[in-house]
């Protein structure tokens, strides 16, 4: 067992930096409904794709240009360098209701987050994962947008109580929300654990959690009326404003970083992020970090048998039994996996982090969840 000392709060010295605009965008459109085809000329902010399920924000071009290629995975936009943008939509004057939600969704906000009502609104102001300082940066430098976003969120959800969860000891507050200090250590930044720290309950139904990054995006949409076209990323200790769809290769070039053969390049956080397979892949909405790990610095995962040491059980913040879940998932006995706490898992990744046998436990858990979901959909239709 290794004691993890990965504090989430870090020293912020710099303000948010701008990323040099890329010449080409690779917008991830996998499993999305395309709205434009090859050859289409786009302004900045034009919708390129929508999500098939309701309540997920639309996807936009983050620069002017022409669509030069589409495949099942990504849509390539050759940037023209133009400054044209779509017309702003004034969402502030709209009445509360479906119309407003639809407008926000069209501007890239995940409307499902703000639908219905909630007794308590928790703003998760913790940095999501070690090495990412985006939330802290926004609470310092993006106060205006966060304030506007919070007002909009309160208007939509009309909560009785609004709480901002910040790292313990920080003196941050935003108007209209009480501040609660939460232990600044992974995994206490995860929504489920932040809610427990604030309300004392586990998975309560009447509580809505919004993280600071989403609130900032919402606020920006409210203030400018323009869709979400960029994401904030922590890269090598600094925070950058990166247009969505920027190829990772461009980021590495602009920041004079390098990835060698065999390295693991991760979009998102080191615990929950996604390892990309090509440097041409574009940055997605919600990617808040870029990490490069050389593959020999960490022992690789293995298709090994569980030795039943129990380290995962002792480390699990959800008190579930990852060793049994992974064994069930291996042999496609997903219903049995549910009995060992599959549905309580909020995917922190600490089980696989600590596994001596180097089993991909988090992957097995996600696999089992996805299979159960797919099976449920099959029986419905």
């Amino acid at each position: 067992m290794l004691k993890i000392r990965y504090p989430l709060d870090s020293e912020l010295a710099n303000s948010i930096r701008e990323m040099r605009p890329p010449k080409e965008l690779h917008v991830n459109v996998r499993n999305l409904v395309l709205k434009v085809g090859k050859g289409a000329v786009l302004r900045k902010g034009d919708i390129v794709a929508e999500h098939p399920s309701k309540g997920v924000g639309a996807f936009h071009a983050s620069a002017c240009g022409k669509v030069s290629g589409v495949n099942y995975h990504s849509l390539t936009v050759k940037c023209s360098g133009g400054e044209e943008t779509v017309d702003p939509v004034n969402v502030e004057t709209m009445g509360k209701g479906l119309e407003l939600l639809r407008a926000l969704q069209g501007l890239g906000v995940d409307a499902a987050l703000f639908k219905g009502g909630a007794e308590v609104l928790v703003v998760n102001g913790q940095n999501p994962e070690p090495g990412i300082s985006v939330a802290q940066q926004l609470l310092r430098d993006g106060r205006e947008e966060i304030h506007a976003g919070l007002q909009m969120a309160r208007r939509l959800l009309s909560p009785g109580r609004t709480v901002l969860a910040v790292p313990k000891g920080e003196e941050t507050s935003i108007p209209g929300a009480e501040t609660v200090g939460v232990k600044a250590k992974y995994p206490y930044s995860l929504d489920a654990l932040v809610v427990r720290a604030v309300t004392g309950r586990e998975f309560p139904e009447d509580v809505r959690v919004v993280n600071v990054m989403d609130l900032y995006d919402l606020g920006k949409v409210v203030l400018t009326g323009l869709p979400i076209t960029e994401t904030l990323m922590s890269i090598a200790g600094h925070n950058y404003r990166v247009p969505i769809g920027t190829p990772v290769r461009h980021i590495l070039d602009a920041l004079h970083m390098a990835a060698g053969p065999g390295d693991i390049v991760v979009l998102g956080g080191p615990f929950r992020g996604e390892a990309i397979y090509s440097l041409d892949q574009g940055v997605k909405k919600g990617d808040h970090g870029l990490f490069i790990t050389s593959s020999d610095s960490i022992p690789a995962v293995q298709d090994a048998a569980c030795i039943n040491c129990g380290e995962c059980v002792l480390q699990c913040p959800a008190r579930i039994q990852p060793h049994l879940i992974s064994r069930c998932a291996e042999y496609e006995r997903f219903d049995e996996a549910v009995r060992y706490g599959l549905n309580s898992c909020f995917e922190c990744g600490l089980c696989a982090f600590n596994c001596f046998a180097r089993r991909p436990l988090l992957q097995y858990i996600r696999f089992a969840k996805a299979q159960i979901l797919a099976k449920g959909r099959e029986t419905q239709s």
């Binding site: 290794l2 004691k3 048998a305 129990g310 039994q321 706490g341 600590n354």
Partner: protein
Amino acid sequence: MNPPILKAMSDISLRLTVSPPPHWRSGRTIQGMMQAHLLALIPAAVMAAVMYGWRALSVVGMAGTAAVLTEVACLRLQKRDVDVDNYSALYAGVLFAFLLPATAPWWLAAMGGVLTIALGRAVFGGFGCNPVCAPLVAWAVCRFSWPEAMDIDLNLAGFMANSPVDQLMYFGVGSLGQFDYMDLFMGRQLGGLGSSQVAAVAVGGLFLLAARWIRLFIPFGFLAGVAGTAAVYRLIDPTVYADPVFHLLAGSTMFGAFFLATDTASSPVGKIPQIVFGLIAGAMVVVIRAHGVYPDGVPFAIMVANLLSPLLERLRPKYFGVR
């Protein structure tokens, strides 16, 4: 004909490693774990060599070699990857050797190494699948098959010491005056060649605890179970039952607490189950020593507790958010 494009944008000049999250890992491996465990056994092996001479080391070597070779053969037969380089087979063989008298014949050590792997692990599915601590299975089989060769008192009669647990069993509490507790602690007692080196075994165990390769729950529960049960017996009748300190220092109590009971596969998982498991195993040690026909109760006590593991694992908290 062009080969089919498997992935859009895949790049042949720069192949990245794609692996599931988390992308940071503690860096701990089974190999490292077993190396640490073997390292923790070295003090006891050195003490055994000092006390019994080179014979002790040859017994350890024979059992370890037999275990590794058997593991190779079993994995080959099962058509699995041969991964003896994770030292788990060697470690299991050495653990078995530590329970033998130092004068054990070569065939007994070899037989034990073979049984540890074949009967203790391979038949249940290999490393990590054994329901009972593998070296103890081999010990029990050998104990029943060749009782003379396994008997500590009989084989080590030439040495100028006595086996405290045998003395207790055959001559009662009155005979224990011959033992100085400091002598027992320093390993000047007859017993399994490594398992009776109390101080050296404790040093190894504390190293494993400090390096966090094992958790405190099982060793603590085990020692507390031994001491607590012995204290209760002592209160009942001090003329018949030995005191707790004697039970902690005699025989292989310390070895069982740190090395046998903490066997990953056969011990339960979770904090409460592990503590209860330790307490039960520890209590059984004293019960067997007081009432059983075997002088040192540790091996059987741990085997009994091992069988309770699946039941103990039910003592767990509710899952997150389940009401």
